[in-house]
Every structure is written in structure tokens, then in C-alpha cells.
């Protein structure tokens, strides 16, 4: 099929507003408004404590303070969360992390609000908090919450074939324990909300950066004591989310909305960067005991994994352990697998979704182990991955059938990265003895969509009489480029040019529920729904145009804003003319489109269909390790990803580069530290994310093995680019030094410790190096 819009490198429609500074983010809606109260919250300084008393009298007495609230003032349910309503708007009896809000203030200005918060006196009985999940499992462990019978939140056990039998017949068994850190999303826009009363319904309007306005409405209705229909949630441009604002939006909306309900005035509530780090959700840290069995030819036979993930203080999203067991064998076939994933509550910030959603954690173990296996058997790391790659008709470790017609591009990705890295040529070493170069790769698969039952999307579309098209899509514009992607898909389907298509930023009052802006699902799910809506409109137009042009409907083609007969090119009209005829003939030019993925069949053993299609990818790096300082520099970063179809290759590259950067940060520097659960690095100069000087140029290869169920073949690309880089770096470090590091990030401290432990620090390096 010849495509006119899909597959083109188009400049995104929102770029102009963003380069002029005119694009409005949530906080920008405050400018020029008067009478808006400013909110501030008081957060627990303790990671675990019982609240004995809260005295708000001095705060209430401060001139300019309009309202001070504690848990007893809340109008509805004091709890929210994505999977369980367990996180309080304001803690009443017990705080579980140094980030639980205990009181909040609305005042006439920020200074007054801050001052009022400082006047609130909370009498705590502090309890030693614990941020170490190992200490919180097993007999005699302290309780993360008073009276909790166990610190375990959830357990998922994957059983595939007979793992014991697979290990019994193995020639090679490898094992190791792999650890990944707690990390922050570190989106640049702090969490923020502006709320006001809707004068018509008496309900609430909440402006807030989101991953799903409809999710927020469903979750928060009970908190506000309002029917869902009286809550309107608007998400303007979002200054980055990466999974985090899916949950942390509730943290600001709850306090902000309640203060508006109680004062009947608009309220603005924005977190400081320090509060964003302390209070909002994190990526789950993990520890995985991993075993891998193979025959002497390098064919994988079985895997076993015993996984702990750090849940933090509230449930948030608690299926990271499910994803980790799901992908316990990576993109490879095995005869038997058994993986147990437990999530453990700790007194750290709650944990939820972050780009990759558990797959980066388990991929670090799987791909480090694949590297070890290749080295043990003297096999080429590309070859061993290729020979084990899941093929058409085979069943994955999670019991899902692989379908060639939905795109299985791992072999192509392996070949592309191998060629680009010039793998078959030796890597030159720098002349200086303290510098060692090495290279490594990692492969992965990542399913599109949540994989849960009922996963789907609804969107709205309306063709205007002038031939321009409006789309209502509640997938949020987080920066990933949904506006342009939907415009190109809508334009392609209806025979328009994409400049004729406009999207409304997601607003629960106008855009139907397209599901979450997560799981690399927006392009595929909402894209399919846009195709459905635009196809309905196109077919209506086809009938109208056929009558007016006196032509057979099937003969008409829609392309570049025209409707033209394939058999008689004289018979043509513009889409605008056809839309005008439709209007006067009483034919509908609006539609709701929807798409639902094949229903999940996953059973208790985590066997069955979850996601309908998978992106595949390979990351490869060349690094230089400085044996004197422990610093690792990534010299080259190569990646190939099978995205099905790149709707806009410019934006796909943007995802690959941004995701790759986050993956390198994950591998080299990003890590939250805590003392008894209280985070100790809560600014951008203590919690490091990559700068331009920390990164190489990314060398990207887009592989397109079409997904028959995706829009024009697409599968999604938001998360995959992050997954491979951390294990690729660890593998490259082994290549450079012969030392295996099984804990990320590979910071200079950790590198020096590992070199020291391995006896790899030469006398000269020992003298001149200064391990911190």
C-alpha cells in the first residue's frame, strides 16, 4: 500500500508553540489569574512514625491563611491509588515514608502558605523506618506498617514446562544475583495542579499533567465525594512523565481539589523539586537470583528466577514483579522456566510505573547472563542470541504464541547492530594503560499495551465542512509526539494531508477514554481507534461523493484532500466539497472509533496471551573504563529496534535517543540513596541524570516488521529503547576488564570496589587511584 502521510518525517504540530514559549503547561494557567489560593503541604520528615497529635491553630491564626486541613476535614474517602486505594490524601494515624502529607494549607500567596505550613505542629512517635527490602523479608522482620502481618505486597509465580527437568539435562548452569536501584523519573516539569469549581455542575475542574485524565476521574471521584460526571480533568502539555505522573498526579490533585471544594475558590498547588524527589513515586529497585541452563551448543534449556522488588510504602502499581517473571527468559525460547516475583513494602517512597515497567530490571539479569553464557562456551554474543531467539509459532516462557505476521524482528536487529558496530573488526585499545576499552550488547522484547483484560481505546473524530478534521484523543502529549502521530494516521485514513488535522489536548469532557498513556500503547491502541473512526467517516463520504459524482463508490480513492475516481480522473471533488454535500444531505461526518486488543488469556501460572505484539531490540555500546578513577565513558551507542512501522521516523529516533539516554543513565549514574528509608539525594545536583556531555551520539536503526494488528503495522517505541543499555554497558565493562559487575549503576565507586575485589587494580593504579 502506498502511504502518503504515515512513514513521513514530519515536523510535529506542537513544536511551534514550544519554541516560542507559548505552549501552556499547567503552571502557566496561573498567570494573569487573580484570587487563586496557593496551597502547600506538610510532609512527614520520618520514614515511619505514629501521629499522636496535629496542632494547626497557629497556622489557622496567621493572616492570609484561608484554610488548613488534616485528614479529618476530607469530604470523601481518604485513600487513592492505581490498584488499591491505600495511599492517604493526608495521613491520619501513621506515616509510612518521608513524603506522606499530614496537613495542607491554602493561603492568599506562597509566602503565607509556606509560613503557615511551618507553624503546624505535629507530635510524632518516630519508629525506625526501613528502606532495605532484604531486611523486611523473612522471619522476625520489622513491620513496615504497624500491625502488618507481612511486608509482602504481592507474589507472582511463573511456571512454564518443567524447569527442573530442563536444568537436569543441562551441560552448563550459570547463576548470579543481580541488583537494580530505586530511580526517579526526573521529568523536568514538577507535579502541579490548578483546581476550581465548575460553576454549572458544582463539581471540580482539575488542570494537571497526566497519563490518563479518565483514570484520574475514576480514582479521585471517591476522594472528592463527587460523581465521576461532575469531575472534569484537563491535561495540558505535560513536561515529561515517563510513567510517573500516572500516579503522582493524584498526590497533587487530591490536596488541591479538596482545598477548592472546602474553600469554593481556585487553588494552585505545585511541588518543589525537592518535594518531587521525596514525595512522588519511583521505579522499583530489584534483586534477582537468576539461574540459567543451556546445552553445550548454547541452546537455552531453562531459567529460574527468584525476584524481590522494592514496593516502597504504598501499592501504587504492583505488577512490576509480574512483568519481571513474564520476561524472565528475555526474547528466547526455553523448555522450562520457574520464576517467583515478590514485591516487598519498605518505608521508602511508593513505587509505580516507569519507562520499561520491570523489563529493564529483569533484562539486566537475563542479558548479563547471556553474555556469561556466550563467554563460557566461546560463542559469539550475537550468534547465541540469534540461535535462541523466539521464532514464528513458538511459545514464549510466558506461554504466548509468537506470530510472524505481528513482526518478529530480533534477527534483523541483531544483524543491524552487528554491522553498525563493525563487530567483526577488533576494537582498538587506547595507548594509555589505565584506559581499557570494551564492547557489549543486549537484546530484549517488549509487549505493546498493558496486557490486561479489556485493554482498549476509544477516540472521537469529526470532519468539518471545510475538509479539516478534529480528533479527540485522550492519550496525553507527554512529549512523545502523540499529536503528530495521530494526525498522520488520521490523515492517511481519510485521504487528508496531516496539516488538515487538529487534536484537542486531553480533556475528560471531550475526549473519550483511550486508556493510559503508558505501555508504549498510544500509537497502536489509539492509532487503531483513529483508523476506525476515520474509516467510518470516509465510508460515509464515499457514498455521498459517489452520488454527486455519479460514480461507483468502490472506484473512489481518498488522497491529498481529494476524492478521485480511479477509473475516470475527471470525476473528482475535494474532501471539503464532499463534507459539504454530506452536511446538506444529512450524512454523519463524526464518529467514535475504538480498538480492543485480543483478550488476555493469562492464567495463574503466568501462561497465556498477554500483549498482542512485541517490539524487539538490540543495544550495543563501546565504552572506555578508566581504571584509575572508575569512570566509564560510553563512546558509541548503537541500537536497532523493530517498531513494526515508524509512523514518523523523526519522532521514533527521538524516542530511541531519549530512551537510550535514560538507559545509559540507568546503567551508569542514576540511583536514590536512603537512610532508614529517607531519601538523601533529592536535588538535580545529588540525583544525577545524564547531561549532553555524558552521552555519545546514538546510532539508530529502525527495523520495520509489520504488526498485522497495528495501525499501518506499528507496534510502539516509547519504552523499548531504555531496556538494553544497562546490561550492554555491564557486558562491555566485562569485555574491557574481565570483571563482572552485577549491580547497576556502574558508578566510579562501584567500579573501583569491583576492580579491587577482583584484584585487578595494578600497583600503579592502586597508588595513583583514589577510590572514594
Amino acid at each position: 500500500m502506498e502511504l502518503h502521510e504515515v512513514g513521513k518525517r514530519q515536523i510535529r504540530q506542537d513544536a511551534l508553540a514550544k519554541v516560542t514559549g507559548e505552549a501552556k503547561f499547567t503552571a502557566d494557567y496561573l498567570a494573569g489569574r487573580t484570587g487563586v489560593l496557593i496551597a502547600k503541604a506538610l510532609y512527614s520528615p520520618y520514614s515511619h512514625a505514629v501521629i499522636k497529635n496535629i496542632d494547626i491553630s497557629a497556622a489557622e491564626a496567621l493572616p492570609g491563611v484561608v484554610r488548613v486541613i488534616t485528614a479529618k476535614d476530607l469530604p470523601g474517602r481518604n485513600g487513592y491509588g492505581l490498584m488499591k486505594f491505600d495511599k492517604p490524601v493526608l495521613a491520619e494515624r501513621e506515616v509510612l515514608y518521608a513524603g506522606d502529607a499530614v496537613a495542607a494549607v491554602a493561603a492568599v500567596d506562597e509566602e503565607t502558605a509556606k509560613k503557615a505550613v511551618s507553624l503546624i505542629k505535629v507530635d510524632y512517635k518516630a519508629i525506625p523506618g526501613c528502606g532495605d527490602m532484604d531486611l523486611l523479608t523473612g522471619e522476625g522482620a520489622p513491620a513496615y506498617r504497624e500491625g502488618a502481618p507481612s511486608n509482602i505486597s504481592s507474589v507472582y509465580t511463573l511456571v512454564h514446562g518443567d524447569a527442573d527437568a530442563a536444568f537436569a539435562e543441562a551441560d552448563v548452569v550459570l547463576e548470579g544475583t543481580f541488583a537494580t536501584p530505586t530511580v526517579d523519573h526526573a521529568y523536568l516539569e514538577p507535579d502541579v495542579c490548578l483546581s476550581e469549581i465548575d460553576p454549572m455542575t458544582g463539581g471540580l475542574v482539575l488542570i494537571c499533567p497526566h497519563h490518563s485524565v479518565h483514570l484520574s476521574r475514576r480514582t479521585m471521584a471517591g476522594v472528592f465525594g463527587l460523581p465521576e460526571s461532575r469531575i472534569r480533568v484537563i491535561s495540558p502539555f505535560v513536561g515529561g512523565g515517563f510513567g510517573g505522573k500516572e500516579d503522582s498526579c493524584f498526590d497533587v490533585e487530591g490536596i488541591c481539589g479538596v482545598l477548592t471544594l472546602l474553600t469554593r475558590r481556585p487553588v494552585f498547588f505545585e511541588l518543589t523539586r525537592d518535594e518531587v524527589f521525596r514525595e512522588t513515586c519511583k521505579r522499583h529497585a530489584s534483586k534477582t537470583k537468576y539461574r540459567l541452563a543451556a546445552d553445550r551448543d548454547g541452546n537455552l534449556l531453562g531459567v529460574q528466577a527468584d525476584i524481590l522488588v522494592d514496593k516502597g510504602s504504598y501499592v501504587g502499581i504492583d505488577i512490576i514483579n509480574l512483568r519481571m517473571v513474564t520476561y524472565c527468559a528475555g526474547p528466547y525460547r526455553v523448555k522450562g522456566a520457574r520464576a517467583v516475583g515478590r514485591s516487598v513494602f519498605t518505608n521508602k517512597p511508593y513505587t509505580s510505573a516507569m519507562r520499561g515497567f520491570g523489563v529493564p530490571q529483569i533484562a539486566f539479569a537475563v542479558e548479563s547472563m547471556m553474555d556469561e553464557l556466550a563467554r563460557k562456551l566461546g560463542k559469539d554474543p550475537f550468534e547465541i542470541r540469534l540461535q535462541n531467539a523466539l521464532r514464528d509459532g513458538e511459545e514464549s516462557a510466558f506461554g504466548a504464541r509468537m506470530h510472524a505476521e505481528r513482526g518478529l524482528g530480533l534477527p534483523e536487529c541483531l544483524a543491524a547492530v552487528r554491522e553498525k558496530m563493525r563487530w567483526d573488526e577488533p576494537l582498538a585499545q587506547p595507548g594509555e594503560p589505565h584506559l581499557r576499552r570494551g564492547r557489549g550488547i543486549a537484546a530484549y522484547m517488549y509487549g505493546t499495551g498493558g496486557g490486561s483484560r479489556g485493554e482498549g481505546a476509544m477516540v472521537g473524530a469529526q470532519l468539518q465542512p471545510d475538509g479539516s478534521l478534529n480528533l479527540e484523543v485522550s492519550i496525553n502529549e507527554l512529549g512523545q509526539g502523540v499529536i503528530q502521530v495521530m494526525s498522520q494516521i488520521g490523515a492517511e485514513t481519510l485521504g487528508l494531508t496531516s496539516d488538515r488535522v487538529s487534536l484537542t489536548l486531553s480533556d475528560s469532557a471531550s475526549s473519550p477514554d483511550a486508556g493510559f498513556t503508558t505501555a508504549s500503547r498510544g500509537t497502536t491502541f489509539a492509532g487503531n481507534a483513529v483508523i476506525d473512526a476515520c474509516t467510518q467517516i470516509r465510508e460515509n463520504l464515499r457514498g455521498v461523493a459517489a452520488r454527486h459524482l455519479e460514480e461507483e463508490p468502490e472506484a473512489l480513492a481518498f488522497c491529498e484532500n481529494e476524492v478521485v475516481s480511479r477509473t475516470d480522473p475527471e470525476k473528482k471533488c475535494t474532501v471539503a466539497q464532499a463534507a459539504g454535500w454530506a452536511r446538506s444531505d444529512g450524512v454523519c461526518t463524526a464518529a467514535t472509533g475504538s480498538w480492543y486488543a485480543p483478550m488476555s488469556t493469562m492464567n495463574r501460572d503466568i501462561q497465556g496471551e498477554q500483549m498482542h505484539a512485541f517490539a524487539f531490540g538490540v543495544a550495543g555500546v563501546e565504552i572506555t573504563a578508566d581504571l584509575r578513577s572508575g569512570a566509564i565513558r560510553v563512546d558509541r551507542a548503537v541500537q536497532a529496534i523493530d517498531v513494526g512501522k515508524a509512523v514518523n521516523p523523526l519522532q521514533v529516533e527521538g524516542q530511541m535517543e531519549g530512551g537510550g539516554a535514560m538507559g545509559i543513565g540507568y546503567g551508569l549514574m542514576e540511583e536514590h540513596f536512603d537512610r532508614g528509608g529517607v531519601l538523601t539525594n533529592t536535588s538535580y545536583h545529588e540525583y544525577l541524570i545524564p547531561t549532553a556531555m555524558d552521552l555519545p551520539e546514538f546510532e539508530n536503526v529502525i527495523v520495520e516488521k509489520a504488526n498485522a494488528l497495528g495501525p499501518y503495522g506499528a507496534k510502539g517505541v516509547g519504552e523499548p529503547p531504555l531496556i538494553g543499555f544497562a546490561p550492554a554497558i555491564a557486558n562491555a565493562f566485562f569485555d574491557a576488564t574481565g570483571v563482572r559487575i552485577r549491580q547497576i549503576p556502574l558508578t566510579p565507586v562501584r567500579v573501583m570496589e569491583a576492580l579491587e575485589a577482583a584484584g585487578k587494580l595494578g600497583q600503579e593504579e592502586k597508588k595513583s587511584g583514589t577510590p572514594v
Binding site: 498567570a31 516539569e189 513536561g239 512529549g479
Partner: protein, 158 residues
């Protein structure tokens, strides 16, 4: 409270602010220029970068009263739709924009850099934006944009 007078995007302005008012807040609240973003408030991320007498400054750690008598330029002072500067146009064309929150600061830094160094190497262009954080792009297309702007400005100058 003190009265501060300065030039803002080419026009003389004055405002009455407390001595500890920060320039980012003054620009956003008193003048309603919301293109300048506040990402951290600690001078780390650079989203709030403005030009003061042509030099990029983090307005979240700069007192408004220090701007007295100076020339302040924000993203709104560059170009609007239809009259974009070469740097703004290059950021669009190179695909450097994702969420956009860091972009005003990036463009201010890149603008000052190219004024200083109109013919940079790619490595210099990369270094020029390395004081500003971006979480979306991996900086690659931002560096592309700086180089594209330099090339176009070079052609214009010939």
C-alpha cells in the same frame, strides 16, 4: 519592596518587588511571560535560562533587583510565529522538541552560544547545551538543531 527598572524584551519596564524576589517569578507573575520555565529552583536544570546583557543566566537563582538597569531577554523576546529566529526554526526542523519544558532554556543558551561562536564544531555545540538538563531527547537532536542554526546563519551571513 523596591522598584526595579530594566529592559525586558526590548521595552523598558518597572516593577515593585520584595528584595528577595527571584527573576523567574517576576517574569512569570508580574509580566505574565510564562515561556520561562521553573524546573528545579536550585539552578541545576537550566529551564529558566534568560539572557541578561546577552549572557545566559539562571533566573531561578537570580534576584530581580540584580536586573536593575540591565537588558533582559526571555524566549518571548526572540521571535513569535512567522518571525522565528534561526535557532527557534532549527529546533523545530531538527526534531529537537519533545515535551518542550527545557526548550526555552535550551534555545536561550544556544542563541547566546552562537552569538559568541558562530562556527562551532559539533563537540562545541554539544558542550554549549551541557549545562541544561533534558530528560526527553538524549540531546542529540538539540545538538543537531544548534548545528543546523549555525549552518543557516552562516549562509545568511555570506
Amino acid at each position: 519592596m523596591s522598584i526595579v527598572r530594566f529592559t525586558l524584551n526590548g521595552a523598558p519596564v518597572s516593577c515593585e518587588v520584595p528584595a528577595d524576589a527571584l527573576l523567574v517569578d517576576t517574569i512569570r507573575s508580574a509580566f505574565g511571560l510564562t515561556g520561562t520555565k521553573k524546573g528545579c529552583g536550585t539552578g541545576d536544570c537550566g529551564a529558566c535560562t534568560v539572557l541578561i546583557d546577552g549572557v545566559p543566566v539562571r533566573s531561578c537563582i537570580y534576584l530581580t533587583c540584580m536586573a536593575d538597569g540591565r537588558d533582559v531577554v526571555t524566549i518571548e523576546g526572540l521571535g513569535g510565529p512567522g518571525r522565528l529566529t534561526a535557532v527557534q526554526q532549527a529546533f523545530m526542523d531538527a526534531g529537537a522538541v519533545q515535551c518542550g519544558y527545557c526548550i526555552p532554556g535550551m534555545i536561550m543558551v544556544a542563541t547566546a552560544f552562537l552569538n559568541r561562536n558562530p562556527h562551532p564544531t559539533r563537540e562545541q555545540a554539544r558542550e554549549s547545551v551541557s549545562g541544561n538538563l533534558c530528560r526527553c531527547t538524549g540531546y542529540q537532536k538539540i545538538v543537531d538543531a544548534v548545528m543546523l542554526a549555525a549552518a543557516r546563519l552562516g549562509e545568511e551571513g555570506r
